[in-house]
């Protein structure tokens, strides 16, 4: 595949069902760049799932062509084609009569990998999706929770290391808490593996959070706008897109800024390790000129907020103060941080990295500052656009 | 010879084909075979022995006997199995229910002729009566089980709603449970009918006549034609009984179920 060529190209892809006047998918032209997550989002019945299922030819197109890595795959053997793509669906579809390891090994077995390679790959993938291989390798799907099963589904799709993954509402069947966790973890994984992903969802917030590029689809899978989330939010193409984005566009844009993108206040709250004695802690707090200390454990994980008054009453740091409730992953968005802040006792969300270690805090001031910055940048952009329209120099 | 297994889930077109095949295909097939047999026999020169066995009055007599025995046995079965089934699914019988169902399941293994012969030899020395009794006993277990399972399947929520609305226990039984269980009951009736018609043939062994008589005489006198006529006759009656049962099942089913 030559440099700059899209990983997947849909060329006038159409699906017409007999007996129906309007095509379900109407001559879609779409380029999906390598290594990016492209979201197909739109209202119910717009044809997004149909389009997705034509990429791996679960549904055969009526006309048009599909290109994978520059190769025209519209008419190649479908089974062989599908083994080159990972496929994750909402109901997951794990094989209940096989163990987790056997499930994950499905495509490698079809590709005739040798058993050692398969076994290593299974362990590697279980690790990647956050499941301890020792514990889960020989379990059966019915013995696992919904969230765990979803992870296995993702692992299974990645087993043969396909360059492309097709995902159809993969996190849809879980509760909001689990869903958020799965989304964050998936984004972490994507950072490492950088696969080309086509992702279908009906949830615009999920689209904004997960997508490098979003295709907003109308009936017949017609593309209303295909662009990065930032551009769509700051510049909706038409009324349909605006309506689809819904109210609270500004807040939605908070979904785009990740905590790692802004300057997280690291030095503001003083931290102490768990084995510090109380007097040393008191001294540190007085010197830092702050209301509270943050207690970290041996792995630098935040445990408790401790105020001056708590230090006067307790001899042991580990029981002083209040437990830290609001922690947030650093890959999470400002929107997530805002929600955590509302829950916490002192309006501060503690930011942790992938292993749970403390990296900083976010509070309401941080978020407000971020919003102000966005507004300023938007106004400047509008002004620049108006002046360039006035005199196209 | 019972329809014991689950119904295969079939969609619209399949159902239509099935219905067509059943309502029209089956009787056509039976008529075709019987006609063929008839034509063949007419064309043959029957020797004296065959002539004594195969003749119109005998055929008529056999058919009538078979139908009579079957109807009596079916009646007997229903009179025993249905009330018993209702009784055993009431709350006060709940503890006994699993045992009864287990016995009913185990009873599937009793061979029909074994039952027949025992009743005949040890009890009722009349061929026809022993057959009726034997067939009834044989059919009671499957119909009993069908009735019980059917009533148990009636959605507990529906019953609760009915009681909650103030219906008496008897009203619930009569106005809610029974109507909902009708499909299962109908299957049970059809099962009983088919079972009894099919096994009534065995009456021949104990002198009860029916088409089985053609078969036994035919074998005894080495006349294959008689055996063939008897077999076709018995089979035709059984298949038609099942056909009628099927139609009844479909049309007597309350709408909405």
């Amino acid at each position: 595949m030559t440099q700059g060529e899209p990983m997947i190209r849909l060329d006038e892809l159409t699906k017409r069902y007999p007996g129906q006047e309007a095509p379900a998918v109407d001559a879609v032209d779409l380029d999906i760049p390598e290594g990016e997550i492209v979201i197909l989002v739109g209202p119910s019945g717009c044809g997004k799932t149909t389009t997705l299922e034509m990429i791996n030819r679960l549904i055969e197109p009526t006309s048009g062509r599909i290109f994978l890595q520059g190769e025209d795959v519209t008419h190649v053997d479908a089974d062989q084609l599908r083994r080159r793509m990972g496929y994750v669906i909402q109901q997951i579809g794990l094989f209940p009569h096989q163990t987790i390891a056997q499930n994950i090994a499905t495509v490698p077995r079809m590709l005739d990998w040798d058993s050692t390679r398969i076994s290593n790959r299974v362990d590697e993938l279980l690790d990647l999706v956050g499941l301890d291989p020792e514990r889960y390798r020989d379990r059966f799907p019915k013995e696992m929770s919904g969230g765990q099963r979803q992870r296995v589904g993702v692992a299974r799709a990645m087993a043969a290391d396909p360059p492309v993954m097709l995902m159809d509402e993969p996190f849809g069947a879980t509760d909001p808490i689990t869903r958020e966790r799965l989304q964050n973890e998936f984004l972490h994984i994507q950072e490492d593996i950088r696969k080309t992903i086509v992702f279908v969802t009906h949830d615009i917030d999920e689209a904004i959070k997960m997508g490098d590029r979003i295709a907003i689809l109308q009936e017949g899978s017609r593309i209303a706008q295909y662009d990065t989330p930032e551009n769509i939010l700051s510049d909706p193409a038409d009324e349909f897109v605006e309506q689809f984005l819904g109210s609270g566009i500004v807040l939605k844009r908070l979904n785009l800024t990740r905590i790692t993108d802004i300057d997280v206040a690291v030095a503001e709250w003083p931290t102490v390790a768990v084995d510090t004695d109380v007097d040393a802690a008191r001294r540190a707090l007085r010197e830092a000129d702050q209301s509270h200390l943050l207690l970290l454990d041996g792995d630098r994980r935040p445990q408790r907020w401790i105020g001056m008054r708590d230090l006067e009453h307790h001899r042991e740091l580990s029981s002083a103060g209040t437990a830290v409730e609001a922690t947030i992953d650093q890959r999470a968005t400002l929107n997530d941080a805002l929600q955590e802040m509302l829950v916490s006792a002192n309006g501060v969300a503690v930011v942790v990295d992938r292993s749970g270690a403390y990296t900083g805090t976010v509070d309401l001031d941080t978020v407000t500052a971020a919003i102000r910055e966005m507004r300023t940048a938007a106004v400047q952009r509008d002004r620049a656009q108006v002046s360039s329209e006035r005199d196209p120099a | 010879m019972t329809a014991i297994t689950a119904d295969a889930p079939i969609s619209g077109t399949g159902r239509r084909v099935m219905r067509l095949a059943r309502y029209i295909g089956v009787p056509l097939f039976v008529v075709a075979v019987c006609t063929a047999m008839y034509v063949y026999v007419q064309g043959q020169e029957l020797d004296s022995i065959e002539g004594r066995i195969i003749n119109a009055p005998n055929i008529q007599g056999a058919a009538v006997e078979q139908i009579q025995i079957s109807l009596w046995a079916t009646l007997l079965t229903l009179v025993v199995a249905v009330p018993l089934g209702i009784a055993l699914t009431r709350p006060w019988a709940r503890r006994v229910t699993p045992y009864i169902i287990a016995i009913a399941n185990a009873g599937q293994g009793i061979p029909a002729i074994g039952l027949l012969f025992i009743i005949y030899v040890l009890w009722v020395r009349n061929g026809a009566r022993a057959t009726i009794l034997g067939m009834a006993v044989y059919a009671v277990l499957p119909v009993l089980r069908g009735t019980m399972v059917g009533l148990q399947q009636v959605d507990a929520g529906v019953v609760k709603a009915a009681r909650g609305m103030g219906m008496s226990k008897r009203a619930v039984l009569g106005r809610v449970e029974m109507p909902l269980a009708v499909p299962i009951l109908l299957t049970g009736v059809r099962t009983a009918l088919v079972l009894t018609v099919a096994t009534s043939v065995l009456a021949a062994f104990i002198g009860g006549g029916t088409f089985g008589g053609f078969i036994t005489s035919g074998f005894a006198q080495s006349r294959p034609l008689a055996v063939a006529v008897g077999s076709v006759g018995a089979a035709a009656l059984a298949v038609m009984a099942d056909w009628i049962g099927g139609i009844a099942e479909d049309f007597l089913r309350p709408k909405g179920l």
């Binding site: 109901q91 579809g93 499905t106 | 297994t5 039952l115 089985g212 298949v239």
Partner: protein, 214 residues
Amino acid sequence: MSVADYLARRWDTVLELTIEHLIAVALAIGIATVLGVLLAVLVYRSDRSVALSLVSINVLFTVPALAFFSILVILVGLGWTSAITVLAIYALLPIVRNTITGLREVDPAIVRAATGMGMSRWARLFRVELPLAYPVIMSGIRVSTVLIVGIATIGAYVAGPGLGAELFGGLAALGTARAPAQITVGTGAVVLVALLLDAVLALITRVTTPRGLR
């Protein structure tokens, strides 16, 4: 004569007949399973084929056993072949019906996932659909087995194998002391064979069903 006396005198014959019975049933079930599953696999995807197959087999199923045995004997002759053919035909219906139901009731999401992963139709059938339908199929086999244990007794009338011989023998000896005992022993043995086979199949099903499906 009491049952005990009868058994004491003729236990070897009874045993021999019991074994014959078991073998005949086993053969018939084996044949019916192979043919039945094969048929089901060929037709389960098409509604029309399913409907036609089921109606046809049902007609065969409804024919009284004595009639069926007799017809086959006229065509093929007395003995084991006719008997086992008839038994296999009777055993077909529950097996075919259950296999079709089992295959059709596999969760569509699982089938979709398997197709989406690139499994060919046959791979899907053998690695996913059949294993998942296995419990239902075994249930059909169990029903068939118990069924034909009973039907096999009638086969003895046309020189077929099994304990039916005791029943007919007892009937023929009507009036003698041993008749009631013989018939009772015959019937009892058949019931025991049915219960035994059912229990064995239940055990096999339990042991061979993957833990994930129980």
